[in-house]
């Protein structure tokens, strides 16, 4: 029996992607480092944003050239938006700028931990989907919020592992497992808060469909190498999930057979 994963694409809004790693494009020390990180990550999708910039500042031109040359699917975000109105407007600007209906929807409810505003998120998602957007919502790990987002037409959920940029990994495993178990057919991408490849592997072993992160790669001493480390960990976690993890147990059980054990002699 061939148990290898021959073709195991990530399917989002009906489109198949070979990589389960979505990489952010912020915080790199240079555009060239970012380019190298994208390449080593083997990702098919990159996130990016829109910001006010002085027209005389052409620093972004190199950034944009590298992004275009990567051939990756663009996933613009609405980072920093605190209201439905702001998020919808920025999404419309992104759709025109990047010529894509895909949007990573962020509606931030708290400045301290950048926690998504669940109420604004559902309202904004509903409005954008009516306008033809393919919405990938950055959400908390709350099951009911996830269900409401699906109700309004989202086909993907992107729950946080922990707050953006903290590197704390999977803070609420119960909630994340609940999401996975209760929404078994919905693509779930852990977005934000991962700091180490082992954390990404853990999420994939739990059955999550993909990983989106930025800071852990961009702020590594060697971002391209870290990008590759995450890519390998995500692949490993996915293979482990498909292979089926063993059940944990309380008592020890010898892996080497006891039958034929030498030096054991009955004395009576």
């Amino acid at each position: 029996m061939n148990t290898e994963i021959q073709h195991d694409p990530l399917v989002l809004y009906g489109e198949a992607f070979e990589s389960r790693f979505l990489l952010g494009t912020a915080l790199y020390s240079s555009p060239d480092i970012m380019r190298d990180a994208i390449e080593r990550s083997r990702c098919d999708i990159v996130t990016l944003g829109l910001r006010r910039q002085n027209p005389a500042n052409r620093d972004g031109d190199t950034f944009w050239r590298h992004i275009e040359a990567s051939g990756c699917r663009l996933l613009p975000n609405t980072a920093g938006c605190k209201s439905v109105k702001e998020a919808v407007t920025l999404a419309e600007m992104s759709r025109e700028m990047f010529d894509t209906p895909w949007v990573k929807l962020e509606v931030i409810g708290d400045d301290y931990n950048l926690q998504p505003d669940p109420f604004g998120l559902v309202e904004a998602a509903a409005g954008l989907i009516k306008k033809g957007f393919k919405v990938l919502p950055y959400c908390t790990d709350d099951l009911i919020l996830g269900q409401r987002l699906l109700d309004v037409g989202c086909e993907v959920l992107m729950p946080w592992g922990s707050p953006i940029g903290t590197g704390q990994g999977l803070l609420n495993r119960y909630n994340l497992r609940t999401l996975r178990e209760r929404l078994p057919t919905v693509p779930l991408i852990v977005d934000a808060g991962l700091g180490a490849p082992s954390q990404a592997a853990e999420a994939m072993e739990m059955g999550f469909d993909g990983i989106l992160l930025n800071t852990a790669v961009a702020k590594a001493s060697e971002p391209p190498l870290m990008a590759e480390a995450f890519a390998d960990a995500i692949d490993a976690g996915r293979k482990a999930y498909k292979a089926g993890l063993m059940q944990t147990r309380q008592t020890a059980s010898p892996s080497t057979p006891t039958l034929g054990q030498p030096f054991w002699h009955t004395t009576s």
Binding site: G49, F63, M93, I164
Partner: protein, 72 residues
């Protein structure tokens, strides 16, 4: 004949002046954005590229002009 008064607008949160009813497409050239990859909102409403040549600026308009940047 007196010269028409200029109007105040906010460009990316900085006050500037333009001629009354100046077209957005012309103002973009004035401000140095001509030919650049930008997206625009005025008073919080998205303005599609197809409307730049007919969108007149009015007193107090708040204009946001954005360009691509790295994001997570």
């Amino acid at each position: 004949m007196t010269e028409r008064a200029m109007i105040d607008v906010s460009l990316n949160n900085e006050r500037t002046q333009v001629a009354p009813k100046r077209l957005l497409s012309d103002a973009l050239n004035d401000w140095g954005y001509g030919g650049q990859k930008v997206a625009i909102a005025i008073n919080g409403e998205f303005v599609p590229r197809s409307r730049y040549a007919e969108q007149e600026l009015t007193q107090g308009d708040k204009i946001d002009i954005v360009k691509p940047i790295g994001g997570g």
